[in-house]
Symmetry: C2
């Protein structure tokens, strides 16, 4: 590790709340490597449908409730959360087949949305349905029930919208397959 890195302040996170969701398990559990491609695709599509329809609650610790004031003015929020069911050993993975699909080429972890990564801080923009005191209701969040919430931010065009997005063929394919499924 370089000298520059050694002098950094400690970056310790404290949970500010917890996700209450009907989604109880991550999409792909480790050890399910024996699935056929068709079985895996069916599982991915079923999970995707479940996530899209899911209405869940973000229960913020009462001590932080005041920090939510004004968030109800936004149609969408950015949720940062920790995938707490991931085996910590998987934070050292280097490459994966996207979504565990052997038909797609191996990619470096930073080129994927895999929850297994050196710092597993997952980020998702979702519609805000309601706020009541310290509880936000949101739609379409993939977080598993019990996930610690790290941060909430308003959806800001400045930081999150991009023009002329291009992506590699493997991700185009995933998007296409999931969209077809919605029809």
């Amino acid at each position: 590790m370089s000298d520059t890195i050694k002098t950094f302040p400690e970056m310790a996170l404290r949970p500010v709340g917890v996700v209450h969701s009907s989604i109880k398990t991550p999409m792909l559990l480790a050890g399910k490597s024996d699935l056929s491609l068709t079985e895996r695709m069916d599982m991915i599509k079923a999970h995707h449908r479940q996530v899209e329809a899911c209405i869940c609650e973000l229960v913020i610790e009462p001590q932080w409730e005041e920090l939510l004031d004004g968030i109800e003015g936004f149609s969408h929020v950015l949720v940062l959360y920790w995938p707490h069911l991931i085996d910590p050993a998987r934070r050292n993975l280097r490459k994966v087949h996207p979504m565990g699909r052997r038909d797609l080429p191996m990619q470096g972890i930073f080129a994927t949305c895999s929850p297994a990564r050196p710092n597993p801080v997952l980020v998702s923009a979702v519609p805000l349905v309601a706020r009541a005191a310290n509880v936000l209701t949101v739609k379409g969040l993939e977080a598993v029930d019990g996930s610690p919430i790290i941060d909430l931010k308003p959806y800001s065009k400045n930081y999150l919208q991009v023009d002329n997005l291009k992506m590699p063929a493997w991700m185009e394919q995933i998007h296409r397959e999931l969209e077809d499924d919605n029809i």
Copy 2:
């Protein structure tokens, strides 16, 4: 703190790299509360122009280089970084005037993009200009030189694009003022 929260695993982050940038100081330093509104607006606009034009390097620790493989296929990346110059005491702030502007109503921290927040993990989607080995070149990142990098992700429509975005009047106003400045 509730029982649910106490059982969470420790969420310790380790820097995976560092930002090398010509931006050496955050936009608004604490203690600059004596600025007039005009002075503050001029400072915000000058900073915004500097950020938009800024080309900077994300230098990833050599041990993690392989995780970047495939990222060059994306036009945009999501950068998660830590604002290392923020005084840790400011992680306990509850409400702020957005961008320090007294003319805008106080908002809870979770309703703003303030870098001072309980877990200061900043998130920005930026164009990827180039990759050479363990170094990514990106455009328009607001991170200050020396900021620890927490994570890199591809820009995924699934997690980051939203439809029918609505925001409160104060943020509409900020966007409008910064856009006017670009003409």
